[in-house]
Symmetry: C2
Subunit: 676 residues, 2 copies
Amino acid sequence: MKPDVRKPWEEWTRADTAHRVVIENVSPEIDGGRFPVKRTVGEKVTVTADIHTDGHDLIAAVLLYKNHGDAAWRETPLRELGNDRWAGSFPVTSLGRAIYTVTAWVDRFRSWRRDLDKKADAGQDVRVDLLVGAMLVEEAAARAGGPDREALREAADALKVRDEAEAAEAVQRALDEGLLRRMGGYPDRRYATVYERELEVVVDREKARFSTWYELFPRSCSPVPGKHGTLRDVVLRLPYIAEMGFDVLYLPPVHPIGRTHRKGKNNVAVAGPDDVGSPWAIGSEEGGHKAVHPALGTLEDFRHLVAKAGEYGLEVAIDIAYQCSPDHPTVTEHPEWFRHRPDGTVQYAENPPKKYQDIYPFDFETEHWREMWEELSSVIRFWIDQGVRIFRVDNPHTKPYTFWEWLIAGVKEEFPEAIFLAEAFTRPKVMNRLAKAGFTQSYTYFTWRNSKWELMDYFEELTQTEMREYFRPNLWPNTPDILTEQLQFGGRASFMARLVLAATLGASYGIYGPAFELCENRPLAPGREEYLDSEKYEIRHWDIERPDSLKEFIGVVNRIRREIPCLQEDGNLAFHPVENEQMIAYSKAADDLSSIILMVVNLDPHNTQSGWVDLPMDRLGLDPAVPFQGHDLLSGARYIWHGGRIYFQLNPAEVPAHIIRIRRKVRTERDFDYFL
Amino acid sequence: MKPDVRKPWEEWTRADTAHRVVIENVSPEIDGGRFPVKRTVGEKVTVTADIHTDGHDLIAAVLLYKNHGDAAWRETPLRELGNDRWAGSFPVTSLGRAIYTVTAWVDRFRSWRRDLDKKADAGQDVRVDLLVGAMLVEEAAARAGGPDREALREAADALKVRDEAEAAEAVQRALDEGLLRRMGGYPDRRYATVYERELEVVVDREKARFSTWYELFPRSCSPVPGKHGTLRDVVLRLPYIAEMGFDVLYLPPVHPIGRTHRKGKNNVAVAGPDDVGSPWAIGSEEGGHKAVHPALGTLEDFRHLVAKAGEYGLEVAIDIAYQCSPDHPTVTEHPEWFRHRPDGTVQYAENPPKKYQDIYPFDFETEHWREMWEELSSVIRFWIDQGVRIFRVDNPHTKPYTFWEWLIAGVKEEFPEAIFLAEAFTRPKVMNRLAKAGFTQSYTYFTWRNSKWELMDYFEELTQTEMREYFRPNLWPNTPDILTEQLQFGGRASFMARLVLAATLGASYGIYGPAFELCENRPLAPGREEYLDSEKYEIRHWDIERPDSLKEFIGVVNRIRREIPCLQEDGNLAFHPVENEQMIAYSKAADDLSSIILMVVNLDPHNTQSGWVDLPMDRLGLDPAVPFQGHDLLSGARYIWHGGRIYFQLNPAEVPAHIIRIRRKVRTERDFDYFL
């Protein structure tokens, strides 16, 4: 990548000096091309680059790209934006890996044409200049075939004039738009500069960008209180989940659970005889990562669930937690994959002074890593065979980045429709690196971002910086591990507000239910954010038909998301000023502004808040002189507004949010057809 | 640079998984390491990088560097700044090219020590943990030599305990700072990650960073009006130039001047018989780029000038203008280095509809570029043989970037003290690319930046963005080509203000004299920025002893620059708010704040302006509760100030600027020694 200008003289070629055009600062390009950007099928990649050359010559530049499966490069022109910045776009049309780069060259004909025009304008004698042009056109003729070759030869001849009288007419022919177009087809690209890197795009299916997740514990799904739920019980729950508008059903690990050092209810160190244990303590004599917990059912039950879920528009996502209970068969079959302490015991997981003696981490520094990596990869492939394509990966930040890069690239090479969600609640740079390394989606800090400035700051980073190219946020207001203080103390209003925020700030979001829709808000203890009586350690029975459930509200919000494509992407988010720190306003709009959705949310779950929102009329394509309509898709109410300064008042005792479709056209007495 | 995670399985090694640490986002790094950064001898390079790994292990990281001539890497530790960002510095100590990179590894001992501390604090049984530590210490002992080996072995033994009573004491020994230091000397770096690129620093001499240029036309230096000045006349002018405090004397081309199509006075198309022509129309039958114009003297005279200038602390810089008059010997000796038009004539320079028939550009697309490049390079080497080390390069943006990269790298490999100033008044990205390609210093847009916001905007870009790493500005308020409207209409006050701005905003600046110090302000015509009766086309006689000359003022300003090191760099510039758009305030301070200089300039040459400047007391290390002194180095006045809000009033009829040294200590009655 770094041409050595101090190389021996004999290694220099004419190309070293003839490649005069420079292409630099190409975007998107993650870490100098080290990592791909991400798109979904049907999206486009807009590429920009600084392109310039010495002197005053004009440049021509094209974007080169190959969609997955393309044998040859395709081309689309780049246009200059000013200040030597060029831009162009290409569509990604197939799953897999697309590549792109840029090429540019000195456009002699257009440079000559521009100069000829100026000279002729100044009344200069241009006969010699016309001869220069004739040579350029003849050279192009030699590159052309068919009728163009003849046409160009004729055009060249017409530029060879004897006297100034003929010259005037020749200038007209030289400046002819048709000749320019024809010449554009046969450029001299011998010394075109090709950008030094080919850049990659991972092209996923739509669900990678737009997905709505529901997490539940199958063992809590029995209709009989206290009874261990099964995968068959989950099948019965599918209509309920589908009715709320979710499209991914994510299950915590469904494998046999270890008995050794099993945790009791509320995470106490010693389990009682009837305690069911944590699903993340994977493996027992009944099997490991490729087995189904007998209490949940069989592998056939699992496949049945996957099939039935599909009928309801739901895809089953499973949890990939690469760790073992002490009873996992692998612990005895492959002791060399674990770290052993000097006393001969296996090293359990710990975060000193906390000990997780029910869990053995894999030792990624083992000498036998090859066999171990292959086994871990085979787990994914096993579940792919059962029909799973979505994997929520537990704590990926405790395994090496390279392992994930290898695993995900390998799986996606064969199954490009696979989706991996990184559950890494850790430091920002580690989360970003995992996203770059291949994770399709990532958990985010949204869970703890409550105030207006926190939300604006974080979502501007996610959607307006380079992160938008590789990090797809998946927003969770709660998880089995996290019941935030906001939800503990904010009551129903905060559940509704957090749901609307998650569902409209992010194209992908999820909830852990039924705890969420039933507004479960009891923490393990004051100041803790674990749930009391957490399903991680016991079976819960949820009364999903409770009248105060948010299930209908969630259903409305998810229906809005499904119906309005501009809510299905992240990069189109824009915040708008409101003169009230407890109110946040933002919009998402289609590229062509054919659809504009405005969200206004009251962040204060206790008090009615009001304020003026300032809409950027110009950017939204709204005429400040013409009234427009706001249609609140949550309440159904319609408002007529004049100008971009709009008053809102939101009462948390009712609905703490608006999701408003902006309609440009307000019907008037002139719209007679309205009355037909 | 891009490890292929999809490579065949048999190509994988243990290192692929064992290199767990990631090093990314290293700074400074220009275009992915494509170009070097720039420093001068004695400066330091502060390197930052994101460094992190999976899991919770602690990391150790060092900066690796080699100064020019170093055979082996040197190391200096990186320290963590927070958020996984690390920083460290190394000094550049020798001319030439330094290189640097970063390496980092998991620090097992420190990770273990941290965990042990937490476990012991929690009262846990740590006997097995101590055995783990003993192994780590024993491994280090095996890497150590001499007394450390024995000491580490003993330390390891002390960690092997039988009962909990012994354990308490062993924990103390394990946490001992001395053991930590000793272990730090023998880290396990087998799986250290080394950053994938070695990054370069071009290390120049001090004058590359801090220089004060004076340009004059030797032919205007005769004491006898109308007579063609000589290089001997320039020798007589040296005391005058040195007295003003300049250290570079830059001469326009000193070569024979062509006669064909010679331009007359004020750039008229046809010269009279006595017209001297433009020095940039290089070459006649008397010689080309390696000859001295006979009217100026001989090559010996030139060498004499270089030597005498040195006695006055002045270095002679010459003009490198790679172009030929039609009479240049090369035009006939090497017609293949020029472009020929279809009528057989040589293509002259043009910028349609303007024609420069007195100048033939070299054809950088010639097939014979090798011989031509060598000849052009030999011009530099010829003048190096005459004692020149500073080259002001005319219009480098009309020659290929690669040519400059080759030329400058080649010359500097042999003569690392060589300095190249790029005279490219062109588009920003082209100017930046030339700086990256190797030019030591660059002309800037300062010439046309007059208003406060223009100056702040531009200088923040130059000094606070990545440009500071490779683009060294050289500020010129005027040049023989540019008499700005500001100077045309602003009178003496604007000359003084522009001088102070140039001399204090930039570590390097220059003026074209004596036009500057004599406040020459007559344009060729209204609305033009060329000089009337420009020295480019005729001999001028300047009365340098005129009482209204700015020579003393310039001398004072340059003396201040020489005496105060913090004015000799660019990166320490900070602007301060003033509530008056016609007043600008900024400071430069030493790293350790031992020296702080505050500039306040009235940008309005016609009216007295006043306003309150807000100083960031905290950042400047000033106690708001303690009075401090401002000492105006231009007027000699001293002020006592309390707090950071200071009133200034500047009358353009007097001096339109302050250069104030901030002195922290104000003497009081307690400083008795003052009265001794």
